[in-house]
């Protein structure tokens, strides 16, 4: 039972690097979207308003990875997990 659920969960963690990709994934696939975030509430609120997706968490033991925020394009130090949620 756990393994079945784990498989489903793992299949539903997807990386996104562009806004259109991000939106498409949320609408079509769902699940957790791993994307870069600049760490600001402004970007977070904007994403929440436009796509109804929230930052679910920054995973513990998250690997450091340089990138650019999926919303603002500003520098980001790590990916965080977005999703539509209950």
């Amino acid at each position: 039972m756990f393994n079945k659920a784990l498989l489903f969960r793992d299949e539903h963690i997807t990386k996104a690097d562009r806004w259109d990709e991000f939106e498409k994934l949320l609408d079509e696939k769902g699940g957790f979207i791993s994307a870069h975030w600049d760490g600001t509430t402004e970007s977070e609120e904007a994403i929440k308003e436009k796509l109804k997706a929230t930052i679910r968490c920054i995973p513990l033991d998250n690997p450091a990875e340089d990138g650019f925020c999926i919303y603002s394009g500003k520098p980001s130090k790590e990916r965080v997990l977005f999703a539509r949620a209950y």
């Binding site: 696939k29 968490c57 920054i58």
Partner: protein
């Protein structure tokens, strides 16, 4: 496919509601946003509660109980806290009803207005830290490791059975420590307990993480959480554990004298899981035929249903059924023996399939089989022992 239960494909939200209502877990009530937890649903919560309670006790925590009501002014003492919870608070303003002299029935007695309004607890940090001030004077009083099982009211706008109800049941741990380090260790320990429970008892995988600043608990320095994924691809927060720093100690002036006799504010944590977990459980595993519950916390794991083909067999099958029930019970399996002849076996199978039971059918030859409906999951090892009985 059960005709009673909407398929997930057709309408996922309705599927969930059908499962909860037709599986007998809960019902809507006359009070907006509040649910009635039915016996089967409550038994499920009790299973979960008992496992968690033991885990808390095993890590040195003790249960206590604090008031349901919180003076309005207490909530305001921690600025971020009141800002976060104000919009969801139910408020008690009077303490007496009386007969309307104008014949309008029962009314609130204007003479019995409370001097200070009371909030129905949306969470108990404020009432608890107000009390902790009197309990904590020195490092010898720490750590203070308290938990309470209680009900909570948050006046939600959009409610869903178990997942988000105006009133819900939960546990909330509130601990006090001499150092930040110790408090953070406790925060992570409790998150680990939640993750262990949700993964190993509920069979739901979770991701452990920290919340972003805006998603933090109102009044926390850091909120750790476990996030789960439901079958519709939406995330569900399954539990949270907060490092509160010295915020509440400062708000309620809770200090302790350390080993060098220096005074400092106490470091705090709080952590909680609720009846939302019942919803998570239903959503994570169930299918279009009914509930699927992991054996470790299913209130009833096996139901024994004798099928009589004639009255002469009834006595023998009943005896056989009871014998099997006793044997299973002895092996630690939660079993229900249903020989109630008010309902036909066909009805029973349909009903129990919705509830997620595994079936055991005693047969005439003394050999009985466990039958599961087409879509059920694995049978735990213990039960395989009973597969053949001569």
């Amino acid at each position: 496919m059960s005709k009673e239960i909407t398929s997930r494909q057709e309408d996922y939200a309705q599927w969930y509601n059908d499962l909860v209502i037709k599986g007998g877990l809960a019902d809507y009530s006359a009070v907006r946003g509040c649910m009635v937890i039915k016996p089967y649903g409550f038994a499920l919560w009790e299973e979960m509660r008992d496992v968690l309670d033991q885990m808390f006790k095993d890590t040195g925590h003790e249960n206590a109980y604090f008031p349901l009501f919180i003076p309005k002014s207490f909530l305001s003492k921690e600025a971020a806290h009141v800002e976060g919870f104000a919009k969801e608070c139910a408020v008690v303003t009077h303490y007496r009803l009386k007969n309307d002299p104008d014949g309008g029935g029962i009314i609130v007695d204007p003479e019995a207005k409370l001097e200070e309004e009371l909030i129905v607890r949306p969470t108990s940090e404020t009432i608890i830290w107000n009390t902790y001030k009197t309990w904590i004077q020195s490092y010898r009083d720490l750590p203070l490791l308290i938990n309470q099982w209680a009900n909570i009211v948050r006046w939600e706008m959009r409610t869903r059975l178990f997942l988000r109800t105006t009133e819900f049941l939960w546990q909330e741990g509130h601990t006090a420590h001499a150092t930040a380090e110790e408090a953070i260790t406790e925060v992570k320990l409790m998150l680990g307990i939640y993750a262990d429970f949700v993964e190993n008892y509920m069979a739901v995988p979770v991701i452990r993480g920290v919340k972003s600043a805006s998603e933090r608990f109102a009044g926390a320095i850091d909120t750790y959480c476990i996030e789960a994924m439901m079958q519709d691809g939406k995330a569900l927060q399954a539990g949270t554990s907060h490092f509160l720093g010295q915020n509440f100690a400062k708000a309620f002036d809770v200090k302790f004298s350390d080993k060098q006799n220096k005074l400092d504010y106490v470091w705090a944590t709080s952590w909680g899981v609720s009846t939302r977990l019942v919803g998570a459980l239903v959503m994570a595993h169930s299918d279009d035929d009914g509930l699927i519950l992991p054996p470790r916390i299913a209130p009833i794991q096996v139901v024994i249903v004798p099928i009589y083909k004639g009255d002469d067999r009834k006595e023998m099958l009943d005896a056989k059924g009871k014998e099997i029930a006793a044997g299973l019970k002895k092996a630690g399996i939660r079993v229900k023996f249903d020989n109630n002849d008010n309902n036909r076996p066909g009805w029973k199978f349909a009903e129990y399939e919705k509830k997620g039971f595994l079936f055991a059918l005693p047969s005439a030859c003394g050999i009985w089989k466990i039958r599961r409906s087409k879509s059920r999951g694995e049978i735990p090892k213990k039960k395989r022992m009973f597969h053949r009985m001569d």
